[in-house]
């Protein structure tokens, strides 16, 4: 137990370092660039309405105050952290004057819900199918499945989502392809809303599952086909251990460990995939928010989305890493 706590403590320090470095990089990229956020905002504002020179000067002063761009870069960096720890990254331009953190907080549950369900589903089903396919390499059903995974897995997230959109948007319009829930339902925990919510989640989730599935299936199949030649599996089979026990406790249990590490390592990529999928299906999550913010030139919202997503992904990887030793009795025993 002490060893585990020591491991968790070390891992936690690393989590803090990851978040610190990631957010510092975000700050550096945005602040060392030649583009001045104040001028960007002013450009946006004056393009939309007629402002008197005095009003422009006043707005410029207010915005300079807000972004603190008149201070030295180091001072700005400390201010940035101070504001971030208070959870205040300034108002968004996209929905002025809503604080950008509020918009992020509104979008986060959508992305988390989509990401968590589709990742868990792909991970569990992909690994189970992969294990069975590795255990029975000559089964025609699993062979066909393997070919299918090989064919779909390398296609970029965007293209898969796009193909689904074309099929279900134009040729076979049976599923909604736009938004997080129907226009005609009121948000709330009513049956209509939940049905609408699930219907709208099917296509985005399906595209994530389609792309993610093959990796787990193929990885697990390769792992299992190596494990079934190991002595302890042959011995268990010869000793007459029940087939199901052999697959469940001997084969999958051992093949699971590298797959769990792989899960931690791919979470960042899956998050990127979710962002893209959301944009294709206009899902109201972090991805759509980020892209709207970039297109609108919304400085504080882009920073807010980037910092929150870095923290969220690093946190998720941390949790998966903490699970790992719990599944490995060798580490638990120490």
């Amino acid at each position: 137990m002490r060893a585990y706590l020591l491991f968790a403590g070390k891992r936690f320090l690393q989590l803090l370092a990851v978040i610190f470095c990631g957010i510092s990089a975000t700050f550096l990229v945005t602040h060392l660039s030649p583009i001045d956020p104040v001028e960007q905002v002013l450009g946006r504002l004056s393009a939309r309405s007629n402002l008197s020179p005095d009003a422009i000067a006043a707005t410029r002063a207010a915005l300079t105050e807000l972004y603190g761009t008149n201070q030295p870069i180091l001072q700005q960096y400390f201010n940035f952290w101070a504001r971030l720890l208070r959870g205040d990254l300034g108002p968004s331009l996209l929905a002025f004057p809503t604080p950008s953190m509020d918009l992020v907080a509104r979008a986060l549950p959508w992305t988390l819900g989509l990401l968590a369900t589709s990742t868990l589903f792909t991970f569990i089903v992909g690994n189970l199918m992969g294990a069975l396919a590795g255990y029975r390499p000559d089964n025609p059903f699993f062979r066909a499945f393997g070919l299918l995974s090989i064919a779909i897995q390398p296609i970029p997230y965007y293209v898969v989502a796009f193909i689904l959109l074309i099929i279900f948007g134009y040729y076979l319009p049976i599923l909604p392809t736009n938004g997080g829930f129907g226009m005609d339902v009121r948000p709330g925990w009513t049956p209509q809303f939940i049905v609408s919510l699930l219907q709208h989640a099917i296509l985005p989730a399906a595209s994530l599952v389609l792309v993610g599935f093959g990796g787990w299936f193929l990885g697990m199949r390769a792992l299992v086909s190596n494990i079934i030649n190991d002595d302890y599996v042959t011995y268990a089979e010869l000793a007459g251990v029940d087939r199901r026990t052999v697959v469940g406790s001997y084969v999958i249990r051992n093949a699971m460990l590298p797959q769990l590490t792989a899960l931690a390592m791919t979470l960042g990529g899956v998050f990127s995939g979710t962002i893209i999928t959301e944009e294709v299906f206009n899902y109201p999550g972090m991805g759509s928010l980020l892209i709207d913010a970039v297109n609108y030139g919304d400085y504080s919202l882009v920073l807010a989305v980037a910092t929150v997503s870095i923290t969220a992904v690093a946190g998720a990887i941390f949790i998966v890493d903490l699970l790992y030793p719990l599944l490995d009795p060798r580490i638990r025993a120490e």
């Binding site: 690393q14 370092a17 990851v18 470095c21 990631g22 990089a25 975000t26 990229v29 945005t30 660039s33 583009i35 090989i150 064919a151 897995q153 390398p154 296609i155 970029p156 997230y157 965007y158 293209v159 796009f162 193909i163 074309i166 134009y170 193929l218 390769a222 086909s225 190596n226 030649n229 390592m265 960042g268 990529g269 998050f271 990127s272 962002i275 893209i276 944009e279 980020l290 892209i291 970039v294 297109n295 882009v302 989305v305 980037a306 997503s309 870095i310 992904v313 690093a314 990887i317």
Partner: protein, 285 residues
């Protein structure tokens, strides 16, 4: 090297299929060197013509011949993928070999940095770069940024091999013979990690080209530079499917799928070849 190739073709149908698919795409992309039209110009042909004898892949709504447009786009995308893969391989080999061979605090520091890079979600960072650089973000800059983000997985893989090599007899001989660290790494250890480098090379190309497609489709790259992604971006901008110009969407998508499938098959069969257990099983020994 040639015997490895022969073995792969003889025993591994996936490798052969992958080789054929990638070969087709490369040949198609290479045609752009003899292209009669400049792919950056628009309104050179009658817009919205379906595939015909004159325009094999039809023309798009911007008045470009889609055959030559796609040929140039795939050349640019492949070059982009190659650039990212070569640059990031240099970083991952350096970090992996150094961390594995030197060990100690060098290893700890390098792997700490490595873990940070693994945990940071790359897509928001790339979007951030576009957000601040805008039109300054040309293809080479993007390739450079992606190469700086795309090395950590493979560095870890190379490190694990290099750690094993460190305690082998020949390393000790080389050190006693007075070889410098740099020479040991480059001349003794590098050949051992080369198979991994080749397999991860393909995977890295897949990764970077997929990200490029995504960024371009969202409009976050240089849109006047034809690539796989920008072709799709422009077809989306002109609502090609709705207007009925299906060939502007279907042909690029099919070609993209062929490219990724081919590269993936190559990477997969090489990975399998590196693992002696699965190689022997396939050869039926």
């Amino acid at each position: 090297m040639i015997s490895v190739f022969r073995d792969l073709i003889r025993y591994n149908i996936e490798f052969t299929i992958g080789l054929v698919l990638v070969g087709l795409v490369v040949a198609f992309a290479a045609l752009s060197f003899i292209s009669p039209v400049d792919p950056s110009l628009i309104y050179l042909a009658v817009p919205d013509q379906p595939p015909s004898a004159q325009h094999w892949f039809g023309t798009n709504s911007r008045g470009q011949d889609l055959f030559w447009q796609l040929s140039a786009a795939f050349r640019n995308s492949l070059i982009f993928g190659l650039t990212v893969a070569v640059l990031s391989r240099i970083i991952s080999i350096t970090v992996g070999l150094a961390a594995g061979y030197l060990g100690g605090w060098v290893d700890r520091v390098l792997m700490f940095i490595n873990d940070i890079f693994v945990s940071v979600p790359i897509f928001p960072i790339l979007v951030l770069f576009y957000f601040v650089l805008r039109s300054d973000l040309d293809t080479f800059t993007l390739a450079l940024i992606m190469a700086c983000l795309g090395w950590p997985f493979d560095a870890r893989l190379i490190r694990s091999v290099a750690r094993g090599l460190k305690h082998r007899e020949f390393t000790r001989h080389a050190v006693f013979a007075g070889m410098s660290t740099r020479k040991v790494l480059l001349e003794e250890h590098l050949p051992y990690v080369m198979p991994i480098v080749f397999a991860t090379f393909m995977n890295n190309m897949l990764w970077s080209m997929a990200l490029e497609v995504t960024l371009a489709v969202l409009g976050f790259t240089n849109l006047n530079h034809p690539t796989m992604g920008t072709v799709l971006y422009w077809s989306n901008q002109h609502s090609a499917i709705v207007v009925g110009v299906w060939w502007w969407v279907v042909i690029p998508v099919v070609l993209i799928v062929i490219t990724f499938l081919g590269l993936f098959l190559l990477a997969m069969s090489m990975n399998e070849y590196i693992d002696p257990r699965s190689r022997l099983r396939r050869m039926g020994v």
